[in-house]
Symmetry: D2
């Protein structure tokens, strides 16, 4: 279905705070908020990550998945997995955090694919897995709360399909 | 339609920042956020009123009306209309503000009718004019943004009626 | 003593939070911090008055007297003594507050005499009653704490005189 | 002079933001504020280090030396010198920072010697090199400003000695 422009998967090398790796596809049906950060980025520490924690505490996990993505593009030697583990422990960050996959270039894969301008960056995906919002820097809580609820209020993909796809076309990768 | 339990009208003696008095009924079709305050209430000045200003700046006025209600229940002599006018000017409050009608008792009419526990109090009304939320004190921005958007996303009354009222009953004041 | 350029007295019409009117002269021997404010001035409410409360809580009253001065130059009808009394009660302001004397002009007497540019204005007087600092707007706490302590650390007038007045004149109440 | 109880030297393995290592002894004559921190300690990042930056900006360096001490007692592998260098760069910390010397025990040397309860810890030394204040956690800016100025206002050691030590006693480690 040409109308749905599925967002590319993130690529990661490691995950924290989750028993198994997470993919955008596996989260289909829920709204996804991804907060890309670096553990030594002051704006991430003072603003982006606390906001992601507040979002986690405010919305139901059945409606919304909050994901951290550690997209390191500088000081690589200071922000390896052990350092990140200590950071997540000290800052009491409990939502799942993946490590954006280094790419041989300075920028990690997901950062380059999505064209992050820096960190923190917030991405909002709808229940169907489409990217609906990409913000570098700060979004006020009031506006973020409204945007998240607007996405949560949209029909989940499954329901949409049930409703509209009576005579749909099925392809190997699923029905549209 | 008996399912709709219309909220009682506020009663006021005076309005600021609006060419003519406003009623809940006249705002039907839009979500309404009412912030009840006193100009000499510290929590209203530091929290409730700035939040109402942020809400005004964040949402479209065609979706949401923000209304201040000056519900004075103490220090009446210090918070009369002239004092309120100066206060609104100094604090750059631009949304419409009504003065809750004194009732002969200590509490003004709307405060007593709705049972405000104090100020600030936030009331949220849906597009159909029903009271959906009553909070004394602080609501975090993230949650308020989400609640407002949930209400904005609901079908306006008119549409609901078109859908559900095939066999409705019509009275002089409209169809239910 | 010609070296000492005594600051002019404030003139007031009324006092709150003190059993009797206070004068700069009667406070001689202590450092005096005067915070000039208007009850409907947003910067006074959010910044100047809370700072004066912190100063009151931090320094010994035998070293430092904190004085509020209500210097009303606009919205006079909204900021009369009754309104001020309610304001001081609601904002839990416990230090002495005098009402700057109206002068027939728009500006009250002390404001005009000292040339306040607006409110909040902070004046610091040393133990000898000399004006040592005049700031319109914000002083960071760290700097204010340092300036107050520098003044507190200066020799009180009496001691200075004892040291320097080898050929002074003695009266029953002490030597000068 | 038995009244002077000199504070023990800090021991370090490395310094940042200074061309050569600093010692308490070499800073004699100036007041010294030492902020002990860990780069992954949230309270240090949000409170202790910004306060040390404000102190640096507020006082003259001829009166007061601000020193950071990286006293790592947990997550050692995440807070090595390279990580610290990146941290200081990202957080724009410009005052000299020494690395507290590991001691074979979990606690670094200076932390153990002084009995830090954790980080952030603030130590204030007077011009004579005596420890005058030891605080774990937060000190309000107003109080810190006052305490620093009180120490700055004290007679420098040299002067004290000139006055009192006419017939002093000299030992190998110096004259008292």
């Amino acid at each position: 279905m040409s109308a749905i422009d599925l967002a590319p998967e993130w690529l990661t090398t490691e995950w924290f705070n989750t028993p198994s790796p997470l993919s955008l596809e596996a989260l289909r049906g829920r709204v996804v908020m991804l907060t890309a950060f670096q553990m030594l980025c002051p704006g991430c520490v003072s603003d982006g990550l606390p906001q992601a924690q507040r979002v986690t505490a405010t919305f139901k996990s059945s409606d919304l998945a909050v994901i951290g993505l550690h997209s390191v593009f500088e000081h690589h030697e200071a922000m390896g997995p052990n350092a990140l583990r200590a950071f997540l422990h000290e800052y009491k960050i409990r939502f799942p955090v993946g490590v954006d996959r280094p790419d041989g270039t300075g920028l990690p894969h997901t950062m380059r694919t999505y064209g992050f301008q820096g960190t923190p960056t917030t991405l909002l995906f709808d229940r169907a897995g489409q990217l609906r919002r990409h913000v570098f820097g700060h979004i006020p809580d009031l506006q973020l709360g409204a945007e998240l609820m607007a996405l949560i209020g949209e029909q989940p993909l499954a329901q949409t399909e049930l409703t509209s796809d009576v005579n749909g076309v099925c392809a190997p990768e699923g029905c549209r």
